[in-house]
């Protein structure tokens, strides 16, 4: 995920903050509070994309821990830029795993002490071992297991085997695929190669984020049987040229209606019928559907392109703020937040705690791929899926288990970006 709907900003308004503060002051004067809260309240500046930056989560943290979360919502690229150039401007960062290759060498992030994370050993093996239900999943690109552990707290090297120092504690992750308009396509779609099928000339789209767009293109190239990449997430210059050639040919032939850059653009393209097949993110599909337009997040036989993000701590964090950051991360893994995210179609890091906070029929719909026993509602109460609906792609195991590659930063990144600009200009 890179760009996300910013629905969270306004929720944490000045008023709610003031109310919270006033309530705290008043109550404190009369009854006294536990040590953490009685002392000056801690504020954590939370840098990240808006995916996890929900007002509900901030409110709940305030309620449970007394910690004020101050969101700094920016796009993925901006997250990396901030970590590298302004490490003092945040207290906790929610970054994608693939950015780590850029972030760690800057020395601005530290490894998180696994002993202080209560549920560290319960984090899903997707991250720790690259497995789902005991089976290995695709690890091309920046698979989280490759960058999960550090050799030491301030090391800038990734450890090959598990250590006590974790780079990022996972917040959300998901498996991405193509979104389609079944009402306009009117036939089953089963392969990535359909994205460049001339049948959909002028009605296809990919995202204009070079590092992700090129991987979607690589999925297409592999699906056509043209070429099999040793690692789609880390191409050689020749492989980049080959992939870009396919894209450029398609573009010149008028295959693409438009490229999209952010969440809302992708929703509008699909909902208005400008496109019928395009790379897409799960919540965008949900949003199209909530407008009453048929849209399927189509599982494809070649598998998914996955992404994951997690919490990291800046080197500069010390004292009570550091404690508060660990408290917050522990709280995040303790279930409420996990359930909240699972209900939006993301996956959470510690599944068993999240399960405890979800109703059985919610769990069976979102995680087990079973038909909804009753209407599935969004956190704000609107109906997302009618009773009887089944989640696209099915259960956690069948979705995350079919991951083919992960969002990544290539070694030849500079060359790739230049080639991408060439593609846009073609």
């Amino acid at each position: 995920m890179t760009d996300t709907p910013n629905t969270t900003g306004p929720r944490l308004s000045r008023r709610t903050l003031l109310q919270g503060a006033a309530g705290l002051a008043g109550a404190g004067a009369i009854t006294g509070f536990p040590a953490v809260i009685a002392a000056e309240p801690v504020t954590l500046r939370y840098l990240g994309t808006a995916v996890n930056q929900s007002g509900d989560i901030a409110r709940k943290v305030k309620e449970d821990l007394g910690i004020t979360i101050e969101y700094i919502p920016v796009v993925t690229d901006e997250v990396s830029k901030r970590v590298v150039t302004q490490p003092n401007s945040f207290d906790i960062v929610d970054s994608e795993y693939f950015s780590l290759k850029k972030l760690l060498p800057s020395g601005n992030l530290v490894g998180m002490d696994a002993r202080r994370i209560k549920n560290a050993d319960k984090i899903t093996p997707v991250f720790t071992k690259g497995e789902v239900a005991g089976r290995k999943i695709g690890d091309q690109g920046t698979a989280p297991k490759k960058v999960f552990y550090l050799e030491g707290p301030t090391s800038t090297k990734f450890a090959a085997s598990p250590t006590e120092w974790i780079t990022l504690i996972p917040t959300t992750y998901n498996a991405d695929t193509l979104g389609i308009r079944p009402d306009l396509i009117k036939r089953p779609i089963t392969s990535w190669k359909e994205l460049l099928n001339p049948e959909f000339k002028g009605r296809a789209s990919i995202l204009n984020i070079p590092s992700i767009g090129i991987m979607d293109a690589a999925m297409v190239v592999e699906a056509t049987g043209d070429y099999t990449y040793p690692d789609k997430g880390n191409m050689t210059k020749a492989e980049i040229d080959r992939t870009m050639k396919v894209l450029i040919e398609a573009k010149r032939a008028g295959q693409f209606r438009a490229f999209w850059q952010d969440f809302n653009e992708s929703v509008n393209l699909m909902a208005s019928g400008e496109t019928v097949i395009q790379s897409m993110w799960s919540p965008a599909v949900t949003k199209v559907r909530s407008q009453g337009v048929a849209c399927t997040y189509q599982p494809l036989k070649e598998g998914y392109r996955a992404w994951a993000s997690g919490f990291g701590l800046p080197k500069t964090l010390t004292g009570r703020k550091l404690d508060a950051a660990y408290d917050f991360v522990n709280w995040f893994l303790s279930g409420w937040a996990g359930a909240y995210l699972n209900r939006q179609g993301y996956y959470s890091a510690v599944l068993e705690t999240a399960r405890a906070h979800m109703a059985p029929d919610e769990w069976s719909f979102w995680m087990e791929g079973k038909p909804a026993a009753q209407d599935i509602k969004a956190p704000d109460g609107t109906v997302m899926e009618k009773a009887g609906a089944v989640r696209d792609g099915g259960s956690f195991e069948s979705r995350m288990g079919a991951v083919a590659c992960w969002n990544s930063v290539m070694d030849e990144n500079t060359y790739m970006v230049r080639k991408w600009n060439e593609f846009i200009a073609a």
Binding site: S106, P210, F256, F259, S272, E274, V417, R418, I424, A426
Partner: protein
């Protein structure tokens, strides 16, 4: 501003340079000159801090090396070589030339269209509308689009021009077309349309301003001398509106040259623009490469403006 300062500086100097002046006079002149410097200082400082220094930094950084996560202060020409990568090969146009060519194309079309519309509107308001009150009202109407943001004015076109948009629906229900026109949106057409919508006002205002300064008796004289309305327009009004046309042109050309949002949104991200290239590089932390591109863009815009000022001596005309 510059001319005013220069004049202020030049005047006191003249007597000092010519005949040896009385000591008192020279001191007065010096004081006056210091005063002039002081007066120009605030603007000078603002310019230095917010214009000259960042520009120099950009220039310096464009010669630096970089990797994924840091920029390294070591001299290299690689960034510029990357900008012009493949341009010497000749067979196929390289990315940079192609991008500039596309931008230049939008500049020319946008400029011609805004000039035609801008001149016509300004002419109408300045010469056809007789009452000053009505002129003011009409002029204000021209600025109404400025009440909403650029982006909103642009995005408003999308539901209109889309495949299932209002325009296509209307044309189809009128039976003029059988299948929706795809070229209305995410095409060169929609980009130019948006540019005209966004930028015409920058043409209208300076041209209108120039026209209002034209002495009406000149037009009467032309008519009395037997000129047709077209002759008057071409031989009297156009030459006298030149400064306005030049200023408006500079506005429009620089706006289109540096734009990437309009090209991005209306072109469906499928059309290259220099600004977009720079933005992509910035987002991948390739600051030196972006800086090199910015310097090249600056050079291109400067060339355009120099060419324009060759055509019209702005200072003399003002």
């Amino acid at each position: 501003m510059t001319t005013a300062t220069e004049r202020a500086l030049a005047l006191p100097e003249a007597p000092a340079a010519g005949v040896p002046a009385a000591p008192g006079l020279a001191a007065a002149a010096r004081r006056q000159r210091r005063l002039a410097y002081l007066q120009a200082m605030p603007l000078g400082l603002v310019f230095a801090a917010f214009f000259v220094v960042p520009l120099l930094l950009t220039l310096v950084v464009s010669f630096w090396e970089y990797n994924e996560y840091e920029i390294i202060p070591a001299f290299t020409l690689q960034n510029y070589l990357d900008v012009f990568d493949g341009c010497a090969a000749g067979a196929d146009l390289c990315t940079t030339f192609r991008t500039y060519l596309s931008t230049l194309k939008f500049c020319l079309i946008g400029w011609a269209a805004t000039l035609t519309i801008g001149f016509t509107v300004a002419y109408f308001v300045a010469f056809h509308v007789r009452s000053a009150a009505m002129q003011t009202v009409l002029f204000l109407i021209c600025t109404i689009p400025f009440w909403t943001s650029n982006v909103i004015r642009m995005i408003a076109w999308i539901p209109l021009l889309g495949r299932n948009g209002l325009v296509n629906d209307a044309l189809m229900s009128l039976g003029l077309i059988r299948r929706p026109l795809d070229g209305l949106l995410y095409s060169d057409f929609s980009v130019v349309l948006a540019f005209i919508h966004l930028d015409t006002v920058f043409m209208i205002v300076p041209i209108f301003n120039s026209m209002m300064r034209i002495d009406r008796s000149l037009i009467e004289a032309a008519t009395d001398a037997g000129a047709t309305p077209w002759q008057t327009l071409w031989n009297v009004i156009v030459p006298l509106s030149k400064p306005g046309i030049a200023i408006g042109s500079i506005f429009v050309l620089t706006l289109i040259m540096g734009d990437f949002v309009t090209v991005g949104v209306m072109g469906g991200q499928q059309i290259a623009s220099v600004g977009k290239v720079i933005q992509v590089q910035m987002s991948y932390l390739q600051f030196p490469a972006a800086a090199a591109n910015a310097v090249v863009l600056l050079g291109a815009v400067l060339l355009l403006i120099v060419a324009l000022t060759r055509l019209i001596d702005l200072r003399r005309e003002l």
